[in-house]
Symmetry: C2
Amino acid sequence: MKFKRSSCPITNSLDILGDKWTLVLVRDLALGKKRYQEFMDSSERIASNILADRLKQLERSRIVTRQAYQQNPTRYEYVLTEKGEGLKPVLRALVVWGQQHFPSNKVIPTI
Amino acid sequence: MKFKRSSCPITNSLDILGDKWTLVLVRDLALGKKRYQEFMDSSERIASNILADRLKQLERSRIVTRQAYQQNPTRYEYVLTEKGEGLKPVLRALVVWGQQHFPSNKVIPTI
């Protein structure tokens, strides 16, 4: 296996996950969102071009798979693979740290 | 508290941590590295300007504190605060996921 920056598992994970949007999308998928418009509707208001790019990257990294649910025009639903489901502990750790340091009244559904 | 993108704790965490380098640095700090040159020596070969920028951001976010260990020129050592130590579960979750999906023979010291 060829590594991009090093053989460290943290570094290799960040080569895929290390940006402001990828794990926000994985959160939405973990919460059961599946469709483009559902991701667009999240309160972070992701830009359409960023969303399209990140979904492509997530698919390429085999974190999501997509399936057509409509033809003409073809529209896709996205779901987490097992590899993607494996990111839930990362999300949970971020929730714990985030809740401790950015207090709000928002109720977070269990991931 | 004013939120940048939303009140989601994952999103707020990513506003600070969501890039390719910040958690690599937090890893180094968690492993006991303290000095600029030690961070530079890590196998990822961080660029000096990125390192300086990320250390500044980590300090601003109160994830690290710095302390002068030498004068003329002044040089600093960096250590994780309690808030920074609180990121260890995030690192551990990334190690687990990374080891599963980017197999290598590298032995990871316990964080």
